[in-house]
Symmetry: none
Subunit: 196 residues, 4 copies
C-alpha cells in the first residue's frame, strides 16, 4: 500500500514516538525525520521550526482528546455525571496511549516558558469544557453557588493532572482507571465527614 497519510500527521506521530522513547531533550529534529521516514529538510516544508512541531502535535492530539471527552459528556445530564464522564474519559484515553501519557505529563513540561505559554493556549479548550460542567452544576443548583469558579476549575484540572503525573512517574504500574471513583468523590464531596 502506498503511504497515503499526509506527511504532516506522519511527522507529528513520529514526534510523539521519538519524544516518548527518547525524552524531550533527546528528541532531535533528525531523529523525528528518521522516524517519520523523511529527510530532515522535509520537516521544514510542513513546520516553521522545531517548536512548531511540538505545538502542532499538542494541538492536534489535544483536539482529538477534547472532542472525545465532549462526546462522552454530551449524553450525561447532571453536572456530577458529566464530571464523572470527563475524569473517566481523561484517564481511559491516557491509559490507552502510553506514549501520549509520557509526552504530555513529563516530557513536554521540560519545554521553555514561551512554548509552555503556547501549550497553555491550547489547554484553554479543555478549560472551557470544565467551565461548562461547573456552570451546568451552578445553574441547576447541584453545585454550591458560592464556590469560586476559577478556583473550581483549577482544582479539577490540578487534581486530575497530579493524579495522572504521579501514575506516569510510577511507570504506570497500577490501574489509572481505578482512580476515577475516588477522584470524582473527592471533588464533589470534599474532605468533610457529613455524617458527623
Amino acid at each position: 500500500m502506498k503511504q497515503t497519510k499526509p506527511k504532516y500527521m506522519q511527522i507529528i506521530d513520529a514526534a510523539v514516538i521519538v519524544i516518548a522513547e527518547n525524552g524531550y531533550h533527546q528528541a532531535q529534529v533528525s531523529k523525528i525525520a528518521k522516524q517519520a521516514g523523511v529527510a530532515d529538510g522535509t520537516i521544514y516544508l510542513y513546520f516553521k521550526n522545531k517548536e512548531d512541531i511540538l505545538v502542532s502535535m499538542f494541538r492536534e492530539k489535544m483536539g482529538e482528546f477534547i472532542e472525545k471527552i465532549e462526546a462522552e459528556i454530551k449524553s450525561e445530564t447532571t453536572a456530577s455525571n458529566k464530571l464523572y464522564a470527563l475524569i473517566k474519559t481523561h484517564f481511559s484515553l491516557l491509559a490507552a496511549d502510553h506514549h501520549m501519557a509520557i509526552v504530555t505529563q513529563l516530557e513536554l513540561r521540560q519545554s521553555n516558558k514561551e512554548l509552555r505559554l503556547r501549550i497553555n493556549e491550547v489547554l484553554k479548550g479543555y478549560f472551557n469544557v470544565i467551565d461548562h460542567i461547573i456552570k451546568t452544576g451552578m445553574d441547576s443548583g447541584e453545585f454550591n453557588p458560592i464556590i469560586n469558579h476559577r478556583i473550581a476549575r483549577q482544582m479539577i484540572f490540578g487534581t486530575i493532572d497530579e493524579v495522572v503525573t504521579t501514575w506516569v512517574m510510577n511507570e504506570q504500574k497500577y490501574e489509572l482507571e481505578k482512580q476515577v471513583d475516588p477522584v470524582h468523590a473527592l471533588i464533589v464531596n470534599g474532605f468533610a465527614n457529613k455524617n458527623k
Copy 2:
C-alpha cells in the same frame, strides 16, 4: 561591610535570581558566578557540577519552606485549620518571594528527568506534611473515613500547585493570598450543594 555570608548560600541565592530573571536554559554557570560575586571556578569548590547547584538550591529552599509550614501547622488543632494554615503559609511564602515562585513553578520543571526525580525526592518531605494532616482528620473523624489517602494528598498538592502556577503564569497580577479561603473551602467541602 565584609562579606561574611558563606559562599555556599551566596551561590545558591545567586542561582535563584539568575534562573528567575533569565530562565532555566539561560542560567549559565558563569552568570551565576558573576551574580554571586565569585569566579567561575569557585563554584566548583562548593558544588560538584551545575546539576548539584540546582538540586542543592531546591533542597535548601524547600527545607526552609517545609520548616516554616510545619511551624504554622503545629499550633493548629483541627485538621481543617491545619490545612488552612498550610495553604495560607504556602501562598504567603511564594507571594513574598517572587523569584522563588518563578523558579519552582516554571523554571525548575524544565530540567531533565533525572534532575526532576531528585527534586521529587525533596518534595517527599512536603508530601509527608500533607499526609500528616490527612491522618489527623481521619483519626479525629473530621474527614470522611472512606476517602482514599493517596488521592487526597494528590488533590491537595495538585490543586495548590495549579493555583500557584496559574498565578505565576499570569505574572502574579492578582493577590494570591485572596485564594486561600476558596481553595480551602473547596478542598474541605467539595462541590456539592449541601443545602439542596
Copy 3:
C-alpha cells in the same frame, strides 16, 4: 576550479599542517576546520571526535608511507639492499615532507597513552616490513643466524627513529639523506673493526 578533493582527506591534510605549525596542544578543532576551509561542525560528519582525526591521519599517512617503502624494497634482491632501500625511502619521504616529519617525530608523541597505543597498532605494519627483511637475510644466510629477531627489529627502528628525531629537533638543518649510507653500514656491519 571546484573543490573536488573529498573533505575527509582535506581535513586530514589540514590537521597535519595545523599540528606541525602550532604544536599538538595548540591544534584546536576550530583551527583545523579553518585550515581545511570547512565549518567546525563539518569535521564531525567525517570523524567521531578529535582523537579520531589524529588516529585517522596517522593511519592514512603511515599507510601511504609503508606502501611506498614496500614498493621500493620489492625490486631489491638481497636483504642488505632491501634494508638500504628502506632507510633511503624512509629518510627521503620525511625529508620531502617537513610537516609530516615534525608531526610524527615530535608532536604526535605528546598524545596520551590510549592514543599512543592506537598509533602503535598502525606502526605494526611498518614492523612487519622490517621483519620481512630480517627473515630474508636469515634465510639466505646473508645475516648472522644467531641474532635475536626482535632485538634486530628494535635496533633498526630505534636507530632510524633516533636519527630522524635528532634531525627534526635540529630543525632539519642538515641533509637527512646523507645519513643513509652510514646508518646502513652501521646496522649491517656493526662497530667492530674487521680488518684488525
Copy 4:
C-alpha cells in the same frame, strides 16, 4: 623521627610517583603536593612552575643515573666491555625502578616541544658518556675508523631506548636484563654473517 629530607627532593620523589601512577596528563600540581605532604603553594617556594618540577626531576634522576653508569664503565678497559657495562647498567637500573621506567619512557615524552628540548639538554650528559666509549674504541682501533661518530651515538641510544620502551609498553612482562647480550652483540657485530 622528624622529616629531615629537604622538601625539594620530597616534591621530586612525589612527582615521580604521581606521574608513574596517574600518567603525565593526570599529574596535577595539587596531586603532587598531596603526595609530597605539603600544601599546593609550598611547591612554588621550591620550583618556579610545573615545568620546572619536571625538568628538575629529570635532571636529578638522570644525574644519579649517569653517575652510576660512569662508575661501572670506569673499571672496564676495552670499548666493547665499556659498552657492555653501559647497556647492562642502564637496563638494570630501570628494571629496578619501575616508576622511573614508566616516567622516562612513556610519560615524560608527552610533554610539549619546549620541555622536551630542555630534557634533551639534560640527556647531553648521557650522550657524552656514549661518545667517550666510541672515542675509546676508535682510538684503540677496536672500532672501525670509518664509522660516523654521531650516527654511532644515535644508534646506541636509539637501540637502547627502543628496547626499553618496548619492554615498558609490554608492561615489563619479560626480563629486560636478558636483552643485554643480544643488544650488545648486535651493536658491536652488526647483522652481517662473517662466517659466510
